[in-house]
């Protein structure tokens, strides 16, 4: 066939002149959606911005600076590693930006500048590229980075909370006139307060001063004003995790863009709600007020974890039923750690542990094809 007759100015071509051209051949489908990995990632970045703004509002400009350090360190690490490995440099795809952002979001605003930098370097190199880069990492890099920081620098990351411009660190207003309680609500994060209340020694001590002080404090914790503070983010905590409202706003955007899927967050949050309602009280099963589960859901890193980290595509299950198991598992481990473990917060470990279970979950939840006999 004649293949030579190729002209760039087809507009002047006369009828029939296309006849001998050869055209592009490729497998079907011949039309595809415009959405790319890049647009998915930048949408996530965009969705994290409300939480960043709330962090800046409550903790000041340092929150922004730490985030910027985290992002720059993540991007540079990615570029260097890809250069060393002789791979195409993909820093514009936004995935390193997300990791850097999430590292900073998991720090309190008084952390020194090198903490997010170190966290990002670790997250991108050990958490992501050692496994082959984007799409191949078994665990959420940002959470791995956080664990690395918490384990290496406990005093810089998990203590020295900064209070917000408008409220005490715990977000709880207590009228109980005991020095120990006052110290607690002004210096500890919301989850640390509730953790303390599960310590029988502490409970005995305050109850000896004022009878039923522990119950009254529990009532103050599980109260509408406290939960309002937690919902808007007017409490001490990490930069990006404090404002449940901002995180929900971002997640709604992602859900609308069909980037995150409802199963993981819904089952994660629902499991935490049910378990804390049953086991969250300090006087045995079902002793918790109906408001306590809201305290657990809006407090700590649960919203950030459930909406943005557990839903990380690379490290969550493929199958629909798998995502339900994953969400329930995350919720279960979170509550076990919060109520029984040594840390006040369990979101990080819950998600990392469930990340490791993903291959197994996927293996046992392969769906039946359409038309399969039950």
């Amino acid at each position: 066939m004649n293949t030579t007759n190729r002209s760039n100015s087809n507009k002047q071509k006369r009828v029939g002149e296309n006849t001998h051209d050869l055209y592009t051949v490729s497998a079907s489908p011949h039309i595809i959606e415009k959405r790319s990995v890049k647009s998915v990632m930048w949408n996530v970045v965009f969705a994290l911005i409300p939480a960043l703004i709330m962090g800046i509002v409550f903790f000041g400009i340092n929150a922004l600076l730490l985030t910027v350090y985290g992002i720059i360190a993540a991007i540079m690490t990615e570029a260097i590693i890809q250069k060393l490995r002789g791979k195409p440099i993909t820093i514009t795809d936004g995935s390193a930006v997300i990791t850097g952002m999430l590292i900073a979001f998991n720090l309190h605003a008084a952390a020194p500048w090198w903490i997010p930098v170190l966290g990002s370097v670790f997250a991108i190199s050990i958490g992501k590229h050692i496994f082959g880069g984007l799409g191949h990492n078994p665990m959420n890099p940002a959470l791995l980075g956080r664990v690395f920081l918490v384990a290496s620098f406990p005093t810089l990351t998990a203590a020295g909370w900064k209070e917000t411009a408008y409220s005490s660190i715990s977000g709880i207003t207590s009228s109980i006139n005991i020095q120990a309680v006052e110290n607690l609500v002004t210096s500890a994060t919301p989850l640390a307060v509730i953790k303390q209340l599960r310590d029988p020694l502490f409970v005995e001590n305050i109850n000896n001063v004022i009878p039923n002080a522990s119950q009254s404090l529990m009532g103050e914790i599980a109260s509408i004003p406290t939960i309002q503070n937690l919902f808007w983010g007017n409490v001490g905590g990490c930069i990006g995790e404090v404002s449940a409202a901002a995180l929900i706003l971002g997640a709604l955007w992602l859900a609308w863009r069909k980037i995150i899927e409802w199963r993981i967050p819904t089952f994660y949050i629902f499991t935490v709600f049910v378990l804390t309602l049953i086991f969250g009280g300090i006087d045995g099963l079902f002793s918790a007020s109906i408001l306590l589960p809201f305290f657990h859901i809006f407090g700590g890193g649960l919203m950030l974890g459930a909406l943005f980290m557990a839903t990380d595509m690379v490290t969550s299950p493929l199958t629909k039923n798998g995502r339900i198991i994953f969400g329930v598992g995350c919720g279960f481990i979170t509550v076990v750690i919060r109520l029984m473990g040594g840390f006040p917060e369990g979101v990080t470990f819950a998600i990392l542990l469930m990340n490791l279970a993903v291959p197994l979950i996927d293996k046992y939840t392969v769906p039946n094809p359409f038309g399969a006999k039950k």
Partner: protein, 437 residues
């Protein structure tokens, strides 16, 4: 109106606006036709004419090559000028008979008798002799479809007027312009299979077709027109059956007849009616010529074997340089390298894409976003199949459902990493069959 549908699928732009209001136009007789011997699923037809033979319009030029095969007829009056290898709309080179026109349209003798008095076997004989095969794209011999084994009782016929592929409007125009013939064809199907119920499935983007078909069947209590949600692949056989009857065709090689259903395309129904009534062989069809850059998109009634280049001339060429030409729809059709490719019995469209519309993308690593899984109408794990195929883990690919893929292309359509999922699944499918896993 409650619209019916199936789980999964995608909502894309249907792009039907270019040609949906263009009435069917009869394309004049071409000077030359290239008639491939394989235009259907099954064995190729066997030529019975030699080079130089004079043939009339509708004359048998190749006989069926087996039970699952169809005979081929000349679509014009002329002289056989070559029997050899020609480009085929599935993208490769295949044997075809070239006929050059020598005169006017000189038909073989057609009869017109009272076909309603014919027995079932006689009707089937006529359908077989006319070379009818599915005209929706796959091209399965119609008479084979209509002859299920004794133990498969057929109670329902579904006429597929969904036409869910973007751009295509050929079936839409047929429903608007020849609704009676569709019903007559449907009644023939019902008579020979003993089916007591019939559905006509039409997507919601063709409200005029829905009302036309509803109007014409308003006195037929056993024929229902089903309005279907605008979603691709609504016209896929298994998805259409589920949406209309809630029956699920068994996976792993199950056929519609396993749930008592036979699905036929609207064009096939008309061809069947004409074959049974006039003994008219299948030598023409409606082809949608469309695309953003086509100057005058049209629905053309053309003779089988007409070249795509002739059709594009008829539509006054394009106003931009062509990037890709597609035989069929853009989701499941074949990109072909040359316009010197003939129309076959299954060619529903000639879609022309501009350079800008036909960019080829580089594959990125899978980010496990699960979009492919969420849209798969067969509830498979496309990304896992593709991943297993890269590592040659054919067992894994089978577990993820490779053999049940209907190649609708939804997964590849939504993939943000632009992974060629359909190709990978195809590789896995072939390998699984080869290894008999």
């Amino acid at each position: 109106m409650g619209l019916k549908t199936f789980p999964g699928g995608i909502h894309g732009r249907d792009n039907k606006r270019y040609s949906q209001n263009e009435p069917i136009e009869i394309y004049p007789l071409p000077d030359k036709v290239i008639i491939p011997l394989s235009q259907h699923i099954g064995a190729s037809a066997i030529p019975i004419v030699k080079k130089g033979a004079e043939v009339k319009t509708g004359q048998l030029i190749a006989k069926a090559g087996g039970f699952v095969s169809v005979p081929i007829h000349s679509s014009i009056t002329g002289k056989v000028t070559k029997i050899g290898s020609f480009p085929h709309p599935t993208g490769n080179m295949q044997t075809a008979i070239e006929v050059t026109r020598t005169g006017d349209d000189n038909w073989i003798d057609l009869s017109d008798n009272d076909y309603t008095k014919l027995g079932n076997e006689e009707i089937k004989e006529r359908i077989k002799a006319a070379g009818i095969c599915g005209m929706g794209g796959a091209g399965f011999p119609t008479v084979v479809k209509l002859s299920p084994p004794e133990n498969k009782k057929i109670d329902t016929i579904i006429i597929n007027g969904v036409e869910c592929e973007p751009y295509l409007t050929a079936d839409h125009r047929l429903m608007l312009e020849h609704p009676e013939d569709i019903i007559k064809g449907l009644k023939i199907f019902m008579k020979i299979t003993g089916a007591v119920k019939a559905y006509i499935g039409i997507e919601a983007n063709k409200p005029d077709a829905i009302s036309t078909m509803k109007n014409i069947t308003k006195d037929e209590s056993n024929i229902n027109v089903v309005g279907l949600k605008l979603k691709y692949p609504q016209g896929a056989e298994k998805q259409l059956i589920y949406a209309s009857t809630k029956r699920k065709v068994p996976n792993n090689g199950g056929l519609p007849m396993d749930v008592g259903v036979i699905v036929q395309n609207v064009a096939t129904a008309i061809a069947t009616y004409e074959a049974v009534r006039y003994q008219k062989p299948l030598i023409s069809r409606i082809v949608t010529v469309s695309g953003k850059i086509v100057n005058k998109p049209k629905n053309l009634h053309v003779r089988i074997g007409t070249l795509f280049s002739d059709l594009l001339d008829c539509c006054e060429q394009t106003n931009e340089e062509i990037g890709k030409i597609i035989s069929g729809g853009p989701m499941m059709g074949f990109a072909i390298s040359t316009l010197i490719t003939p129309v076959t019995k299954g060619s529903s469209g000639l879609i022309v894409l501009s350079k800008k519309e036909s960019i080829t993308y580089k594959e990125h690593a899978c980010i496990r976003c699960c979009s492919c899984i969420d849209v798969c109408p067969m509830n498979l794990l496309p990304s896992k199949i593709a991943n297993d195929a890269t590592y040659e883990d054919w067992e894994g690919a089978k577990i993820a459902g490779a053999v049940d893929c209907i190649k609708c292309g939804c997964c590849a359509y939504v993939c943000p990493s632009k992974i060629k999922l359909i190709q990978w699944i195809d590789i896995a499918k072939n390998k699984i069959n080869e290894l008999n896993l």
